[in-house]
C-alpha cells in the first residue's frame, strides 16, 4: 500500500497528540510514557504528512466534506509543513527533558496532558484555513500556555495572569477583526476571502486589529512587556517551548494573513513600521539582556531581541516572501530551545539563576555549557549555523533590494547578541570554588539540551531543503 496516498496524515498530526493528551488525563500515572510515545508518534505522522505533500502537492483537506464557505478546511502547504517539522523537532527533545525535569508526581501529572494539548493546538493553528477556527486555536494556545506557566508555582502566578490578560486582549482584537471580515464578505475561509478582499477602509481596520492582536501575542516590541516575566518564570521546558514555538506560531499566522488574505492592503509603509519596531526590539531586548541579573531573564530578553529580527524580515516579504522569515523562525526555535533547557540545568544545579553566583553551576555542567554555546553561535549568526543561514538570506534580500538600513541593523545586532551570549559563557571559565549541587541534573537533561543545540548548528546545512520546500509548495 502506498502510504503517501493515505489522505489523512494531516488530520493525524492534530489527532495523535490530542488523543495522547486525553489518555494522559485518564491515566495520570503513565503520563511520562504516554508523553514520550505520543511525541514519537506525532513525529511519525508529520513524516506521513511530508510524504503526502511530496506526492500530491499542497492540499486542502475538508473536515465534514461541506466545502469551503459552509464547512472548515485544513490546508497543508510548504510553510505549514515547515512549522509542523519545527514543532516536532523542537518538542521531542523538550519532551525527553521534561521527563526528568519535573520531580514531584503532582507536577508530572499536571504537565503531560497540557503539554500534549499544546502540541496539538500548535499543529491545529498551522493547518487551519478558516478565520474563526484560527481564533479558537489562538485562544486555546494562549490558554494552555498560561496554565503551563502557572505550573512553576505560586511565584509565577502574577506573570501568568499578566500573560493571560495580554493574550486575551490580543485574541479579542483578532475576534473583532474576524467579525468585521465576516460582516464585510460573509465568509470565513481564507482562500475564498483572499479572492474577494478589496482595499476598503473596513478591511483595513480588520487588518489593523488582527495585526495588533497577533503582534501582542508575538511580543513584538513595545508589546512585549508580558514576555520576560512569563518566559523567565515558567518551568524550564515550558520556557523553552514558549520562546521557541508559541510566539512563533502567531508570527507565522501574521505572515500567512499578510501574504494571502491581506496582500492588497499590505503596503511598504506597513512593513516598514513593523521593521522599525523590530529594530526597537533588537536594541531594547539586547540592552535588557545585558543588564539582566538573572540567567533566565537574560535568555527571555534575548527572545524579545530575536523577535525583532522577524520584524525586520517582515519588511522584506515583498521581495523574499516566506523564506527568510521561516528560516529565521526555525533557527531561533532550535537555538532558544537549547538555551532555555541549558539555563534550566544551571538553575536546577545551583538552586537559583542569579548571574552573580551562577559560575559554579556553569563549571559543573560542561555539556550544558556546550549546548548554550552552540545555541549562542546560532543566535549571533556565525557560520555554519542555522542562524547564519537565516541572517545571510535576510542580508542578501536586503542588499538586493537596496535597503541598507536593514543590512546595517542586521550586522550591528549580531554584535549585541555576541555581547550578552559571552556575558554568560565568560562565567564558565572563571575560577572559583566547586559547586555544591542543590538539585540533580540527569544526563538526559543535559543531552537533550545539547541535541537541540546541535540541531541549531546543523540547520545551516539544510538551507537547500528549506528553499526547495518553499519554492515548490508555496501557499
Amino acid at each position: 500500500m502506498d502510504l503517501s496516498l493515505h489522505p489523512h496524515w494531516t488530520v493525524w498530526c492534530i489527532v495523535v497528540p490530542l488523543l495522547a493528551g486525553g489518555l494522559a488525563v485518564l491515566v495520570p500515572r503513565w503520563g511520562k510514557t504516554i508523553g514520550l510515545i505520543g511525541a514519537v508518534l506525532t513525529l511519525i505522522v508529520v513524516g506521513g504528512a511530508t510524504l503526502q505533500l511530496l506526492s500530491h502537492g499542497p492540499q486542502r483537506i475538508e473536515i465534514g466534506s461541506w466545502g469551503a464557505p459552509l464547512g472548515i478546511q485544513l490546508q497543508l502547504d510548504g510553510p505549514a509543513l515547515m512549522m509542523l517539522w519545527t514543532t516536532a523537532l523542537v518538542s521531542l527533545p523538550i519532551t525527553v527533558y521534561a521527563r526528568d525535569y519535573f520531580q514531584t508526581p503532582q507536577q508530572q501529572i499536571r504537565f503531560w496532558p497540557l503539554w500534549l494539548l499544546l502540541w496539538s493546538t500548535m499543529n491545529m493553528l498551522y493547518l487551519s484555513a478558516d478565520l474563526f477556527n484560527l481564533y479558537i486555536t489562538l485562544e486555546l494556545l494562549s490558554f494552555v500556555s498560561v496554565v503551563l506557566v502557572a505550573l512553576a508555582g505560586p511565584n509565577a502566578v502574577r506573570a501568568a495572569i499578566r500573560y493571560l490578560l495580554m493574550n486575551l486582549l490580543g485574541s479579542l482584537g483578532f475576534l473583532l477583526a474576524v467579525a468585521l471580515m465576516y460582516g464585510a464578505y460573509g465568509m470565513l475561509d481564507i482562500n475564498m476571502l483572499a479572492e474577494q478582499v478589496e482595499a476598503t477602509p473596513l478591511t483595513g481596520l480588520a487588518l489593523a486589529l488582527m495585526s495588533i492582536g497577533l503582534l501582542v501575542k508575538s511580543a513584538l516590541f513595545p508589546l512585549h512587556v508580558w514576555l520576560p516575566p512569563a518566559h523567565a518564570g515558567a518551568p524550564a521546558p515550558v520556557s523553552a517551548v514558549l520562546s521557541a514555538l508559541v510566539v512563533k506560531a502567531s508570527f507565522y499566522l501574521l505572515l500567512l494573513l499578510w501574504l494571502t488574505l491581506y496582500s492588497p492592503l499590505v503596503t511598504r509603509e506597513l512593513t516598514t513600521l513593523v521593521g522599525l519596531l523590530g529594530i526597537g526590539a533588537i536594541l531594547w531586548g539586547s540592552l535588557q539582556a545585558l543588564r539582566a541579573s538573572r540567567l533566565k531573564q537574560l535568555v527571555a530578553y534575548s527572545t524579545v531581541a530575536q523577535l525583532g529580527y522577524i520584524g525586520l524580515a517582515i519588511t522584506l516579504i515583498d521581495v523574499a516572501a516566506w523564506q527568510p522569515v521561516l528560516t529565521f523562525i526555525i533557527a531561533h526555535a532550535c537555538a532558544k530551545g537549547a538555551m532555555f533547557l541549558a539555563a534550566g540545568n544551571f538553575q536546577r544545579a545551583a538552586g537559583h539563576d542569579r548571574m552573580a553566583l551562577i559560575s559554579a553551576a556553569l563549571r559543573a555542567l560542561p555539556v550544558s555549557v556546550f549546548a548554550f554555546a552552540l545555541a549562542g553561535i546560532s543566535l549571533i549568526g556565525l557560520p555554519p549555523s542555522g542562524g547564519f543561514l537565516a541572517k545571510w538570506l535576510l542580508l542578501s534580500a536586503a542588499l538586493d533590494s537596496g535597503r541598507w538600513l536593514i543590512a546595517l541593523a542586521l550586522v550591528g545586532s549580531g554584535l549585541l547578541t555576541a555581547l550578552y551570549v559571552f556575558r554568560v559563557l565568560e562565567r564558565a571559565v572563571r575560577p572559583g570554588a566547586a559547586l555544591k549541587p542543590v538539585g540533580r541534573v540527569s544526563p538526559l537533561m543535559e543531552w537533550s539540551a545539547l541535541g537541540l543545540g546541535l540541531l541549531a548548528i546543523l540547520l545551516g546545512f539544510a538551507g537547500m531543503w528549506i528553499t526547495q520546500i518553499l519554492a515548490e509548495w508555496p501557499v
Binding site: 488525563v25 473536515i63 465534514g64 499536571r110 497540557l114 505560586p154 465568509m187 473596513l202
Partner: protein
C-alpha cells in the same frame, strides 16, 4: 497616572469614532452563508440550523471549544486552586426537601434541552450548564467532601465528551472518507450520541471548576 488616564480615555474616544464608523460600513445585506446552511439542513441530520452548524458543518470548531473547557479544568487545578469547599454541617431541615424537589426538575430540564437541540435552540452546552448546576446543588447540600465515585471515573467523565466526539469523527473516515463527515443515514444518531456525552462532560467540567476538587482530577 492622571495623564495616563486622560490619554487612554482620549484614545478610547478616538476608537469609539473609528469603530462606530466601521459598524456603519458593514453592508446590511445578506451574507449568503445562512441560506446555504439552511439549504443543507436536510443533509445534516438535524432540524435546527444552530445545531447543524455546531455539530455538523463546523463540528471541528465545537470539538476545539470542548477542549478549551477541558483545558480550563486542567488549568484550574494547576493554578493551585484551594482544595474542596468548606462544607457546613449546619444544613437545617429545609435544604434536603428543597433539593430533592429541585434536582429531578433540573435533570428533567437538562434532558429536555438536550432533546430540543435536534429541533430548536438547545443542545449539549445548555443541557451541560443545567447538569453542572444540578451537580453543584447536590454537592453543596450533600454535606460531605466525599465523592461518591472513584477518581478515575470522574476523570473518565471529564474526557468522555471530547474523546467520543473525536473517535466518532475518526471512525467515520472508512465509511465517508473524511474526518467528521457522518454518513447521512447515521447522522442523527451520531449527533445525538455526541450531544449526550458532551452534555455530561460539560456539566462535570463546570462542576469541577466550581468545586475546585483538585484531588479528584489530580490524585495524590
Amino acid at each position: 497616572m492622571q495623564q495616563v488616564v486622560k490619554l487612554v480615555s482620549l484614545l478610547a474616544l478616538a476608537w469609539v469614532g473609528v469603530l462606530v464608523w466601521a459598524m456603519w460600513q458593514i453592508p446590511l445585506t445578506d451574507s449568503g452563508l445562512q441560506i446555504l446552511a439552511l439549504e443543507q439542513l436536510a443533509n445534516s441530520g438535524v432540524d435546527s440550523g444552530v445545531t447543524a452548524v455546531l455539530l455538523n458543518y463546523r463540528a471541528y470548531d465545537t470539538l476545539l471549544e470542548v477542549i478549551v473547557l477541558l483545558a480550563a479544568v486542567l488549568g484550574a487545578r494547576a493554578a493551585g486552586w484551594p482544595v474542596a469547599l468548606p462544607l457546613n454541617a449546619d444544613r437545617g431541615p429545609l435544604l434536603p426537601g428543597v433539593v430533592s424537589l429541585l434536582l429531578p426538575l433540573l435533570l428533567l430540564s437538562a434532558v429536555y434541552l438536550l432533546w430540543l437541540g435536534k429541533y430548536e435552540a438547545g443542545g449539549s452546552f445548555q443541557a451541560g450548564a443545567l447538569l453542572g448546576a444540578a451537580g453543584i446543588l447536590a454537592l453543596l447540600s450533600a454535606g460531605t467532601g466525599e465523592w461518591p465515585v472513584r477518581t478515575w471515573v470522574v476523570r473518565a467523565g471529564l474526557i468522555v465528551g471530547f474523546s467520543v466526539f473525536l473517535l466518532i469523527g475518526l471512525l467515520v473516515i472508512p465509511i465517508t472518507g473524511t474526518f467528521l463527515t457522518y454518513p447521512l443515514h447515521l447522522a442523527t444518531t451520531l449527533i445525538v450520541l455526541i450531544e449526550i456525552v458532551l452534555a455530561f462532560s460539560i456539566g462535570l467540567a463546570l462542576l469541577l471548576l466550581f468545586a475546585g476538587e483538585g484531588s479528584v482530577v489530580d490524585p495524590p
